[in-house]
Structure formats: structure tokens, C-alpha cells
Amino acid sequence: MKHTVEDLGVFGGRTIFPAARPIGQLALPNREAFFRLVAGVYARRRITNNGPLVQKLERRLAQLHQVRHCIAVANASLGLILLMQALARHAGGEVIMPAFTYAGLPHLAQWAGLRPRFCDVEARSHALDPACAAAAIDDGTALILAVHQVNSPCFITEFEQLSRDTGVPLVFDSVHGARCSFQGRPIGGFGRAEVFSLHATKLLNGFEGGYITTSDDMLADLLRRQRNFGYVDEAATAGIGLNAKLNELHAAAALSCLDDLDALVQRNQRRYELYRAAFAGISGLDCVRYADNGERWNYEFFLLEVTDAFPLSRNQIVTVLRAEQALARPYYSPPLHLSQHCPAFIDPPSLPVTETLSRRFIQMPVGETLQPEDISALADLFRFMQGNAAAIRPRLEAAG
């Protein structure tokens, strides 16, 4: 409990948390299952190159997403490079993407030989706005990269229609749509293909890793070759691939998390509900909700919205939180078109909705290391900040 402003970590007081409270899931693989699977790896001496554990993981994930193919890769970023390069209408063209998203996406488009074209998002869902995307499409458009947000799938019906109407291929970055549904169907089966991550901060922990889901047989074959240097047999390649192979240890970890996946989602939901209850009475704050509409959600994030009615700014709050070892961060801020991630050859467009949203949200600590009492302590801290803002603000401003 903080009594005076000096008690705040940011001013040298003792931190609330003795160890960092991260913003990722950090789910623990079932150790017994993991060591059992790896004992098999030792017996086979097969530790990568499309081993049996990778194949087993792919089968299980294809089932989970109700798709024909799952292609495991070393991480989602490499998967996105391969997928964008494979599907782009023409080399050097533009990839339509949001700027209110993951920092890597504009880089990945360039690795695929393409150029990012940032479009605005829709205010309620935070997802790429189909009308803005449609307005940006021309002969130079190579691909649409629609990104599911944790709180909303990305206008799937509208984008599939737009793709049919314009002939521009559509893929989804579904890293934050894992285990979610749209109209009762699992995310993973929409567009030409969808890409997921097995990064430890995500729902399914494979250390690092990723996978692509598709029901397109030809595309699946192509991606399987591409992740292995383009090899079709030992002595021939069908094009320029790279090394995007997932190894057996990472596959073993992901497999050892799979049985616990739905329980993890339930624990996430519980933490989300605790957060909502704990923060309910604090004025000037709101949170991003998971709609109660019968769809599945993964409750992976808790996103606090800071309104003008709260006496500290969003960035000031984040500074205070981080000094307490709560590794909160501004959510998708700055937006990519105004950040170091915007390529030099682009004139940053004006994206009013994106820019407004990027000033409002805090991504709060979540995941398996966050205890119920941590959530209460965080709510107490916010009440303390609210009550002592007049003393905190000038000192933060003086500190720069």
C-alpha cells in the first residue's frame, strides 16, 4: 500500500511487485509431457527438419482450427514473410495493412519484397477499416494483410467480399485471434491463409514459433517447400525459400501446452473479470470488453482505456506502473506510420482514428504469473494515483 507520493517506485519508493509482472501469457508447458516427448527426440535423434513432433502439432492445430492444412514455422514473422511473398499479386507492390498493430508488420512486408500501405482502423473494433482499405486499392496493390485484434476479428465478411470483388488476395494476421471464433467458426479458416504465433507471450507457448493455416492444397505445398529452402527433393529447389523450420524442442513445448489451452483461456477470462471488478469504481478509466455475443474469445489482454477525466495522462500512468515492476505499456503507440518502423520512402498518411486510439490504451499485465492479489494491488495503485495526481504530476513533469 502506498501512503505518500514518496512511496511510489518512480520516486524511489519500494516497488509493489518484487518481480516483474509481464504482459504476456508465459504458459508453462506440462513438464512430464515435455520430457516424455523429448525422450522420443533423443531416441530418434531427429531434432528438426519436419520431425514427427512438428507433424503431430500440425495435425492437432489443423483440427483445432478446422482447416485442411497447418504449416508450422520458426516464428510468425518468418511465416508472414513467406506467405506475403507467395501470394502477392506482383513483386514490389503494396500490402494494405493497419498502423494500429504489431511493429514488425511493415518490416515483414519489405522482406517479402513489398511496400506497406497503412490504412485507418474502425473506432469500435480497432480493426482495419474495409472502407479505408477499399479506397486504397489500385493496380499497385499486391495483398491485403488484415489483422485480427484481441477484442475483434477483422471484418471477415467485408474483407472476403472486397477480396472477391477486387481480386486482391487476402490473408489474416491472426496472432491475437488464436482460439477465437467468428460466426461460430474458429479463426484460422478465413481468407487465403491465416498466421499464428507460438511465441511464449502468446496463448500456445512453443518458446518461439508460428504456424499458417489454410485449406488451399497448393499453397500449403508451396509453404512447406518454402520453409525448407524451397527444396522439392534432395537436389532441386522450386524457387527461393529460406529456413523457417520449427525444431522438435519447440514443437514439444507447444504440444505440452495444447491440452491446457482451454483451461488457460478460462483462467484468462477469470483474470479479466477480476480486473473489471477491481477497476469498476475508478472514474476516468474504462476497459476494452470482450463482447458477450456467443463467440469465443481468448481474453489474452487486459486493455485499460484512459479518458480525459483521469487526472494523469496515459503515458504518465505507464511510467508509474513500470516503476512498480508492472510492465504495462502504451498499446500500439506510437502508431506505426508515425514511428521508427515507418519506412523512409513512405509519406506518413493521416490516420485519424488510429492516431486517437493510439493515445488512449494501456496494455496491462496479464498471464499466468499474475495473481488475483496483484490485480487488487494494481487497482489500489490507480486509486492512489487518482487521489494524489496533483502531487504526482508536477514531479513526473519535472523528471521529464
Partner: protein, 402 residues
């Protein structure tokens, strides 16, 4: 069983020399108890990736082992090469051997660069300054050399050439952990060197690789390129990627480093056993590691002299495979013969004479954890039989496809 007549050969109906396939490739794994301990540690710490403690320790230990100021571990060596191109901020053409693994050249493509294929010196299997110099044109940005089999080539002359022409020099040393040249590790040559920890290499981390350099600024750029994190944005770079190595990979690498001397010693013994096999000289010879420095001896590459041996390399490979001896043509074919380069420049082979010749002659024989001294004897026993009856066998083998 010692095979002594043609009918004993599996290809003619005999029992294969090995009941189970014998692979090329190292496939070295640390002892199980060490593995368990290391991974329990990871699970206890709950630190899985993003520049974790084991990755940092591996970076440090490799820097010590390779004798350089900086090592940055990444997803795999292919990604390492892609990272290298952006950390060096290359643009234009890169002179590179065609006698290499496809990834060397593919990395250039992803980095938006144009490969210019250089032939290799038949004595070293590597490019030389003499061969590279005429290829350095106005658009040349760098030379990317490959230390094939972990043997360095003409490093001093290449260094001179690049300095004179004002272009970068960096190396694909994917094969080279544990190898030296002029008394220094292969990390000492060029502005940076890339190593692979793929399972088939001497030091394995499942998949994995690293970049090694003595240049502080370059190291900062490498660290920035390999991830998107704000906290790791320490330099201006043209492009970034997720190339992070995980704690799982790093744990394997660290355990492997402890066992590396033993694994190298074993390779050396097996390699010597192959090399001193009586009939060796009459078949051709093994790529030798005598010159220049130490080798990890991870590759047992047999150079077939078709003038002295009645069978073709490909016939011999097929015959060995039927014995469950999974010998590999390596490197094969030259990258200039792979898509899309084979259609972009179908005549390239005419300029790449030694590359074509080596690709037609070399055969990599099993050497690694799955191989014992007895395996080597049985393999050389089959080779002996082939040597004695080469002409007969060649006649009886199904005709090769044209």
C-alpha cells in the same frame, strides 16, 4: 558380415550392410540428465525467449570460444545471413560462390540483393581474390565468402581486394565452429562471420546460428536488426526481423559447448579411419584438413576420381544407399543450377568450371554420433568391393537417367 562378392551387394539382392539407415550429419546431443536439468531450470525461471539469460550466456561464451568481441545468436544461420546483409546495409550486387548451400544465396535474395556467382579454387573449394576480382563491378556492395567444410581459403587476398575496391567482406562460416585458420578461429576473418548450429553441424541447438564480429557498431546494428523491441533499438538500420534465439536453443548450445572438444576428437578419429583406409588413394581421396589450421572434421567428403574408378559418383551413391549408407552429394548442384538462377543465366556453368566439376565428384559419407569405428570399417568394406568390381557393377546397374 564382410561383403566379398557382387551378390552380397544389396542392390543385387544381398542383405544391406546396415539394418538401419546411417546418416551423414553430426546429430550430437548432450547427455539426457544435463538436458533435463537445463530445461527444468528454464521452466523454473519461466523465461522462454526475448534475449533471456541463457542466450546472453551463450553469446558470451561463444564470443570467448571464437575469440571475438561480439556474438549475437539468432534463429538459424539463414536468418543470420539475412540479418548480416541489413546490418551491413548492403545494396546492389554481392559476389558469392555457387558452390555452397542454397541458403547462402537465398539470404541475399530476401535482403533485396543480386548474387554474382564466382567460381571456386579447386584446391580450397572456396572463392579466391583472383577469381572474384573480375566480378567486382560498379554495383558491387560486398563479397560473401563461404568457408566450405570449415576450411578457409584465400582470406588475406580477399581482404586486400575488398579494401582496395571499397566493398564489404563477410563470411558464411556455417560449417566452421571449432575450425581455425592461421591459428585463429574463422570468426576472425571478414567484418562478420555467420555460424550454423543446425542439428547436422558439430555444435547443434536444434536449429540456430550466430553472427560474430569484432566491430562494436556493427554488433549494435546486428542486435537491432534481429528483433523489433524498443529496448533493443540501439542503432539505425534499414530493416528488422524476428531472428531471436530461444532459451531452449541456447540451453542446447551451452551444453554442446561443454562437449565440443570430445565431439571434435571423435570426428577426427573417425575421419582418420576413413582417410587411412588402404584403398583410399586408388579411389580418389578425402577432402583433407591438413593445411592451415585445425578442423572440426565434421564432414567426411570423398572426392571420386572417375579416371581411376569405373562407377560414376551417382551410381556409387545409389549403391551405398541400398546398403542403408545414406551418403549425400554435397554441395549439389551448384546454386547456379537451381531455380530461378538456372533460367536467369543458363550458361553460367561455362564460367563455373571448378564448381561444376566438384558438384559432379564429391560424396559426403556418414560421420557423426550415429557412426562408430566399426561402421566406418563396414562402409569402407563396401567401397573396397566397389573398387574391385567397379566395371562389373557399373555394367549391371540400371542405366542412369539421362
Amino acid at each position: 558380415m564382410i561383403k566379398d562378392s557382387l551378390a552380397d551387394l544389396a542392390i543385387f539382392g544381398g542383405t544391406p550392410a546396415f539394418a538401419e539407415p546411417v546418416h551423414v550429419g553430426q546429430l550430437n546431443l548432450p547427455p539426457w540428465n544435463e538436458f533435463e536439468q537445463a530445461f527444468n531450470g528454464i521452466f523454473d525461471r519461466r523465461y522462454f525467449t526475448n534475449h533471456g539469460p541463457l542466450v546472453q550466456e551463450l553469446d558470451r561464451r561463444l564470443a570467448g570460444y571464437l575469440g571475438v568481441r561480439h556474438v549475437v545468436c539468432v534463429t538459424n544461420a539463414t536468418v543470420a545471413l539475412m540479418v548480416a546483409c541489413k546490418a551491413l546495409d548492403l545494396d546492389g550486387e554481392v559476389i558469392v560462390p555457387s558452390f555452397t548451400f542454397p541458403a547462402t544465396v537465398q539470404a541475399l535474395f530476401w535482403a533485396g540483393l543480386t548474387p554474382v556467382f564466382c567460381d571456386v579454387d579447386p584446391a580450397t573449394h572456396n572463392i579466391s581474390a583472383e577469381l572474384a576480382a573480375p566480378l567486382v563491378g560498379a554495383r558491387a556492395a560486398a563479397i560473401l565468402g563461404v568457408h566450405a567444410w570449415g576450411r578457409a581459403g584465400d582470406t588475406a587476398a580477399l581482404q586486400d581486394l575488398c579494401a582496395r575496391r571499397g566493398i564489404h567482406l563477410f563470411y558464411d562460416a556455417a560449417h566452421g565452429v571449432g575450425c581455425t585458420h592461421d591459428g585463429r578461429s574463422l570468426a576472425a576473418f571478414g567484418e562478420l562471420a555467420v555460424f550454423s548450429f543446425h542439428a547436422t553441424k558439430i555444435l547443434g541447438s536444434g536449429e540456430g546460428g550466430c553472427l560474430a564480429t569484432d566491430n562494436d557498431d556493427l554488433a549494435q546494428r546486428i542486435r537491432t536488426v534481429r528483433n523489433f523491441h524498443v529496448s533493443e533499438s540501439v542503432a539505425r538500420v534499414p530493416l528488422r526481423i524476428n531472428g531471436k534465439m530461444t532459451e531452449a536453443q541456447a540451453a542446447m548450445g551451452l551444453l554442446g559447448l561443454d562437449h565440443l572438444p570430445r565431439w571434435i576428437q571423435r570426428n577426427r578419429e573417425l575421419y582418420e579411419r576413413y582417410r587411412t583406409w588402404d584403398s583410399c588413394r586408388s579411389l580418389g581421396g578425402f577432402v583433407d584438413y591438413a593445411r592451415g589450421g585445425q578442423s572440426n572434421c565434421q564432414f567426411c567428403v570423398f572426392d571420386i576420381d572417375s579416371a581411376r574408378f569405373a562407377m560414376s559418383r551417382d551410381q556409387l551413391q545409389r549403391l551405398l544407399r541400398s546398403e542403408n549408407i545414406l551418403a549425400r552429394r554435397y554441395f549439389f548442384p551448384g546454386v547456379h543450377r537451381l531455380a530461378p538462377y538456372c533460367t536467369l543465366d543458363p550458361e553460367a556453368g561455362a564460367r563455373l568450371r571448378s564448381t561444376e566439376a566438384l558438384c559432379g565428384r564429391l560424396l559426403q559419407l556418414p560421420l557423426g554420433t550415429g557412426v562408430t569405428a566399426d561402421c566406418v570399417d563396414r562402409i569402407t568394406g563396401v567401397l573396397d568391393l566397389c573398387l574391385r568390381h567397379g566395371a562389373d557393377i557399373a555394367r549391371r546397374l540400371p542405366q542412369e537417367q539421362a
